[in-house]
């Protein structure tokens, strides 16, 4: 599903943010990527979203070689990949329903499909009753649920989450992670970048530890390894 073959990414100065990493993630896997800030986790996510181009190496996602992908093909590729951020990135002038429907409008779904699909997803994340609320009227945990709903409403094959619990208290963090686990159980490949040690230890999934741009450890059903 995700294949990185000796991928490097250097910014203008200094040490590469990602240094010759090779990685393979199977379809349906749940993977934590952990490491200190500056270890290259976020660069990895941005490479997978084709927001950044690798300096070296080949990235293949869901059968697409990202290096040679034409700009015109990028939108179609991104529809196969859902993404959730630490800061939620919701549209604060629109209510919960509109935020989720927005993702469907953007990829030009018909209105009747949107009216059917959005309530379905909101039920799944447990926000069916708050569909009329504006994001700022919700708690952080609820806002992140909206973001998750938006990320999965288009049924992506892969879900990338960049520090999804970074702004949340432990209880909400746990619930968001449970939600991601449920999504994974329904067949979506999930890759979560985090430095939440407790959660990583609690869920016992595959853990990839990054340190200074390289993969330091890669454990099946492991725990958080201190750098």
């Amino acid at each position: 599903m995700i294949d990185l073959d000796r991928v490097s990414k250097s910014y203008e100065k200094g040490q590469p943010a990602v240094d010759e990493i090779s990685l393979h993630v199977d379809k349906g896997e749940f993977v934590f990527v952990v490491g200190e800030s500056g270890s290259g986790k976020s660069t990895l996510i941005r490479l997978l979203l084709k927001e950044l181009e690798p300096t070296h190496g080949i990235i293949t996602v869901n059968g697409h070689v990202l290096n040679t992908m034409k700009p015109k093909a990028v939108p179609a590729y991104r529809r196969e990949v859902g993404v959730v951020f630490q800061d939620f990135r919701l549209l604060n002038d629109r209510n919960v329903y509109e935020n989720v429907a927005f993702a469907q409008h953007v990829i030009e779904h018909a209105g009747r499909n949107i009216r059917k699909r959005v309530p379905e997803v909101l039920r799944m994340v447990g926000l069916a009753e708050k569909y009329k609320s504006l994001p700022l009227q919700l708690s952080g945990g609820e806002q992140q649920r909206v973001a998750v709903a938006r990320a999965i409403v288009n049924r992506p094959q892969i879900l990338l989450a960049d520090e999804p619990t970074g702004n949340l208290d432990p209880r909400n963090s746990y619930e968001i992670m449970k939600l991601l686990e449920t999504i994974n159980e329904r067949g979506t490949t999930v890759l979560v970048v985090t430095h939440n040690k407790e959660l990583v230890n609690r869920f016992q999934k595959r853990v990839i530890t990054m340190r200074r741009g390289v993969i330091a450890h890669d454990q099946e059903e492991g725990g958080y390894i201190e750098a």
Binding site: A76, R79, A103, V106, E108
Partner: protein
């Protein structure tokens, strides 16, 4: 783009206008001023052209002949004049007709006075041709040709007023084109700026759209719609104002100023002017809006 998306994007375009309404009002106001001036200049030019046209029909060249010229010679001169490409019409008036007309004009109430001349036509030498030319600018050329013909005594041309009108018309055309061009550039710039504000305000939204997988055209469409709407609204307002003030002005001329009523009656009415001005004005607004937003979207919306 799908039809349902088109509807969505048009709605977003309207929302953009509302969200940064201060800038929208500014660009609509500039557009309004621009199209209004364009409309005024256009109406004036059209009216002046109408006047010139009707003057061209009225104003002719009068050709008088030497004493003792025979009718045969006069006919020959007539043929020669008619052979000129610029000449549209040649009318002959005999001395008797000229005298009869003169009497009618100057002694309408006093036929006795005219009768005192008996059969001695005081205008015996005033048989003439009235020559009309297609374009008033060609009159001089025709006049100098007629002067070279044998048997011609005098050629009168009465184009003073017309040539003033023509030079006014061309000067006015240049000045109005210059002013309109400057205003158009300003309008394009302002619309580009308004759309740019919309783009900056919605950076976050645009970034999310791109990550979700929106195509370039989908991201750009609402901003293009916004520009076009601003352009069309900015054109519709002044056109409506002009439509009603034009009517009012013509009506005022007809009713309040008796002297001008004959002139006003011959001027093109509002529907004639708007048959051209309405589509041209709206297209101009649409074009400016499209250009303004396209410039900004190309420059600031790298997707």
């Amino acid at each position: 783009m799908k039809l349902s998306s088109l509807g969505y994007n048009i709605k977003q375009g309207f929302k953009n206008i509302w969200r940064n309404r201060m800038f929208s009002v500014a660009s609509i106001a500039t557009m309004t001023a621009c199209i209004f001036l364009f409309g005024v200049f256009f109406s004036i030019l059209m009216n002046v052209n109408y006047m010139i046209k009707s003057l061209e029909e009225e104003v002719g060249v009068t050709v008088l002949f030497n004493e003792g010229v025979t009718q045969d010679q006069i006919d020959k001169i007539g043929e020669e004049i008619k052979s000129q490409a610029e000449v549209t019409k040649v009318t002959f008036k005999s001395a008797d007709e000229a005298w009869a007309e003169f009497q009618k004009e100057y002694f309408p109430d006093n036929p006795e006075m005219a009768k005192s001349f008996a059969d001695d036509n005081p205008l015996a030498n005033s048989a003439s041709y009235t020559v009309q030319v297609d374009k008033i600018e060609d009159q001089d050329k025709v006049v100098s040709f007629i002067k070279t013909l044998d048997g011609v005594r005098q050629v009168n041309q009465s184009s003073g007023a017309t040539s003033t009108l023509i030079s006014f018309n061309s000067l006015f055309t240049y000045v109005s084109i210059a002013i309109i061009l400057i205003l158009l550039v300003v309008a394009v710039f302002l619309i580009a700026n308004t759309v740019n504000v919309g783009i900056s305000v919605r950076r976050n939204e645009i970034a999310i759209m791109k990550l979700i997988g929106a195509t370039d055209s989908f991201v750009r469409a609402p901003f293009i719609v916004e520009g076009i709407l601003l352009g069309i609204i900015g054109a519709a307002i002044p056109l409506a104002i002009l439509y009603f003030t034009y009517n009012w002005l013509i009506n005022a001329l007809l009713t309040k100023f008796g002297v001008l009523s004959s002139m006003a009656a011959s001027l093109p009415n509002v529907n004639v002017v708007f048959r051209v001005l309405l589509p041209v004005g709206l297209l101009l607004g649409l074009g400016i809006g499209l250009l303004g937003s396209a410039i900004t979207v190309r420059k600031h919306l790298k997707v």
